[in-house]
Symmetry: C2
Subunit: 115 residues, 2 copies
């Protein structure tokens, strides 16, 4: 599979889930275009497209918290990526290991049916 | 955190990563709006918005491969969700446990630098 063959949205992007290859913790979700996927494959470190800053970013380039890429998988629709990484430090800018450190209200113990 | 307080895109959607709460395998990625999040929290099973069919779907409603929700987490930007689930069967319509069963070319053993 070539990066150009993935299915991107109208903005040329698709979501990439980053997971710790060892602990299996989901660390973050960011967006990539074909060029970011290419850079990730070429360098073995994670590259994303920042939708707010409208620029490429190499995770850890400034913080030092780089992510070494162990494997790159795509889903059955080829419109989402899973990056398995070996992280050098926390993924989150808050210092938390994972960006997903906030929990919503727990689902009910006794689920009810929605029609 | 109320479902309405999450940060949705221009289409009112955000990506939800579904992870097996026990094995930690990332199973799939789908999209939710505030109503799908509400249904997920209310029922304890995963609800998504199908962008192609333009309708809500309750994972496993037809296949039987339901996902019992163990925890719902949101990321530091509140624009992505992580659903930890106990799946009753494969997540993928192909019969694979995970939709992320395709691997791209492995990154190089000796990474080079992209400027």
């Amino acid at each position: 599979m070539d990066p150009e063959q993935l299915t991107y949205d109208a903005d040329g992007l698709l979501p990439a889930v980053v997971q710790d290859a060892t602990t299996k913790e989901v660390l973050m979700l960011a967006y990539v275009d074909a060029e970011a996927v290419r850079r990730t494959l070429d360098t073995g470190t994670t590259w994303f497209w920042s939708r707010s800053r409208r620029e490429y970013w190499n995770k850890g380039a400034t913080s030092g918290n780089t992510q070494r890429v162990v494997a790159v998988r795509y889903d059955c629709d080829a419109d989402a990526l899973l990056l398995l990484v070996d992280p050098a430090g926390p993924a989150c800018h808050t210092g938390e290991i994972s960006c997903f450190h906030n929990e919503m209200d727990s689902p009910p113990t006794h689920p009810k049916t929605v029609k």
